[in-house]
């Protein structure tokens, strides 16, 4: 075995650990299905330029039903919307929008939440009091009301949405991390680290953080799902990303009035978003199952 016994805990590359993690998932059928769905959508998003039959904003034949023939000899597999844009292409490109903004927003919320949670849980004291009260405050708002307030006041843009999600989600992450840290900070190995004279940042990131990974990963998957739904809802309410960029929520908003006559326009983006969130939820469940049996 290598010489790096000492730094072994830190040296193995991230992607290798990720793959090892995924391999563990094999034990849970539910987790595998979820992972499959997520991987599918990630692939769709990445390969969008190559697999999308038409440009997403090209106006072709309005009100075409699913399976109708296209003027250039192809098929509108999912039909077209009221302006004539191919729905399949818009769904494919919409996955990009979702899979860029949602992970970005969730990631920001996590970074902020983890740092605050570690600090609050480890130091206790007035820092903890202030942070906890503040997070209680933010969490006491009905979530959507908060978003509407922020977006309606500051306008809707990609950046605003990311900031709003970070602001609304970081307290929840902070709460979770804080709870996990409180659990761990009284363990003897933390005392041993303190007696070695380790710096606080070392204790937080090297001693504590690796041991809270499991529940955090599960929460991350679930939260990513919530954020995707949130972005969808904002788009649905007309507060999402400005058109014409395809965004599943926005697509549903634009076509919902026609649901009674042409349900296919809103139906397929709904299926897309539901399947992606389902995949994430199943994945989270699978990871939780694996962690329990580990």
């Amino acid at each position: 075995m290598s010489e790096t016994t000492i730094s072994e805990a830190r040296r193995r590359p991230v992607w290798l650990r990720l793959l090892a993690g995924l391999a563990l998932l094999r034990e849970s059928r539910v987790g595998m299905i979820g992972a499959g769905i997520v991987v599918f959508w990630v692939a769709v998003a990445v390969l969008a330029p190559w697999i999308s039959p038409y440009p997403p904003n090209a106006t072709l034949v309005p009100f075409a039903l699913p399976g109708a023939a296209a003027p250039d000899g192809g098929v509108f597999w999912l039909g077209t919307d009221h302006i004539g844009r191919d729905i399949l292409s818009r769904v494919i490109w919409g996955s990009r929008t979702v899979l860029i903004y949602a992970p970005l927003a969730t990631g920001c919320a996590y970074v902020v939440g983890i740092v605050l949670g570690l600090v609050a849980g480890y130091h206790r004291g007035w820092v903890d009091e202030v942070l906890s009260r503040f997070s209680d405050l933010v969490l006491s708002f009905p979530v959507l009301v908060l978003y509407i307030l922020i977006i309606a006041t500051y306008g809707s843009s990609g950046l605003n949405i990311v900031l709003a999600v970070t602001f609304a989600s970081a307290p929840a992450v902070m709460r979770i991390v804080r709870g996990l840290v409180l659990d761990i900070r009284d363990r003897d190995y933390i005392a041993a680290a303190q007696m070695r004279g380790e710096r606080t940042s070392y204790i937080l990131f090297v001693e504590i953080l690796p041991n809270v990974r499991g529940p955090l990963i599960v929460d991350a998957c679930l939260r990513l799902g919530y954020v995707i739904i949130t972005i969808g809802v904002l788009g649905f309410l007309g507060l999402g990303l400005p058109p014409p960029d395809p965004d599943w929520g926005g697509m549903i908003n634009e076509t919902r009035s026609m649901t009674m006559a042409f349900p296919h326009m809103a139906l397929f983006p709904c299926l897309a978003i539901s399947s992606l969130v389902l995949g994430l939820n199943l994945l989270a469940d699978g990871i939780r199952e694996v962690l329990l049996n580990a």
Binding site: F141, P142, V145, T153, L237, I252, T259, P263
Partner: protein
């Protein structure tokens, strides 16, 4: 116990106060933008100044805030820019409508979720459990707007059993409530069912359940008297918090089905920059949210003898 209640109530008041300050700072801080929103973008500077002076906007900030808060507490929320009537006149009827909707949702969802959650938890690992868990995961993955589309497509477009909008244009029809209530129940029950199930599973593994069984108690008694009392503590708080969640959920549903409720009012107000209406709606919804949270906290302590008598 009573000390705890007092503390929580004080915290509730403090929260409302802080929220009011934040709201005031957000929306009313600059008189210029207020006047523009009230009188419209085409009004002249002179008109705005006249209006601002008449409504005391040139007074010092703390005086304005105090007056604003005072009005709020008396129920005077000002006049809606769009509807041109006092906000209170628009707000309360809409709130009542949403209350009806919410009440129906809770009345259906709570027994359903608790029942299924407990059954799943008692028979952990069985096919029933796995079925209920799967249904729960699927329903919580489908956001309300999506399920609105699905249900509308199914029941309105395809089967034509139910009306597609819930405007109550021709008086009160219960069948117009079916779809909105259905969508909300569908999304929400999964979450509560899963929490109940998890709580039940955890309780069934506890040593005191083993003690009860080995005392020779009949199974029914073990479940009802020993397991449920402990297992229902967590779901109770979650259900109280669902009221908080409902305030968000109704926005989407009311918007989709054109139901004249509180949620759609807030949304319209935001989209129309109807300032005073936004303020009023926000304060009311935060009040409801924080109020239910306080109730949930108090209830949790009350139900948990370990905390109550410590």
């Amino acid at each position: 116990m009573s000390r705890f209640i007092v503390k929580r109530l004080l915290f509730l008041l403090a929260t409302m106060l802080v929220v009011s300050v934040l709201l005031f700072a957000l929306l009313e801080i600059s008189p210029g933008s207020v006047a523009t929103k009230v009188l419209g973008p085409y009004s002249s500077q002179e008109q705005r100044d006249l209006w601002l002076a008449a409504h005391g906007y040139f007074d010092p900030i703390w005086l304005r805030y105090g007056r604003w808060l005072g009005h709020m507490l008396q129920g005077d929320f000002g006049e809606s820019i769009r509807f041109k009537v006092p906000v209170a006149q628009v707000l309360w009827p809409r709130l009542a409508n949403t209350a009806v909707l919410g009440g129906l949702v809770l009345a259906i969802m709570v027994p359903l979720a608790l029942g299924m959650g407990m059954l799943a938890g008692m028979r952990e690992g069985s096919r029933l459990d796995r079925g209920i868990s799967l249904v729960s995961i699927v329903t919580t993955s489908v956001p309300e707007f999506a399920s609105s589309v699905f249900l509308a497509a199914l029941f309105v477009f395809w089967l034509d059993w139910l009306p597609g909008t819930s405007t109550m244009a021709e008086g009160w029809h219960w069948n117009e409530l079916v779809l909105p209530v259905g969508v909300l129940v569908l999304y929400d029950f999964g979450y509560v069912a899963r929490i109940t199930r998890a709580s039940m599973v955890e309780v069934m593994l506890r040593p005191y359940i083993r003690t009860a069984v080995l005392k020779g108690l009949p199974y029914r008694r073990v479940i009802v008297r020993h397991a449920l009392r402990n297992a229902l503590i967590a779901p109770f708080t979650v259900i109280m918090l669902q009221i908080n969640w409902l305030l968000s959920g109704v926005i989407v549903v009311e918007f989709f089905f054109a139901y004249k409720g509180f949620g759609s009012l807030l949304l319209e107000a935001s989209l129309n920059q109807d300032l005073f209406l936004i303020e009023a709606c926000t304060m009311v919804s935060v009040a409801v949210a924080v109020g239910t949270q306080t109730l949930a906290d108090i209830g949790y302590v009350y139900l948990n003898p370990r905390i109550r008598f410590s």
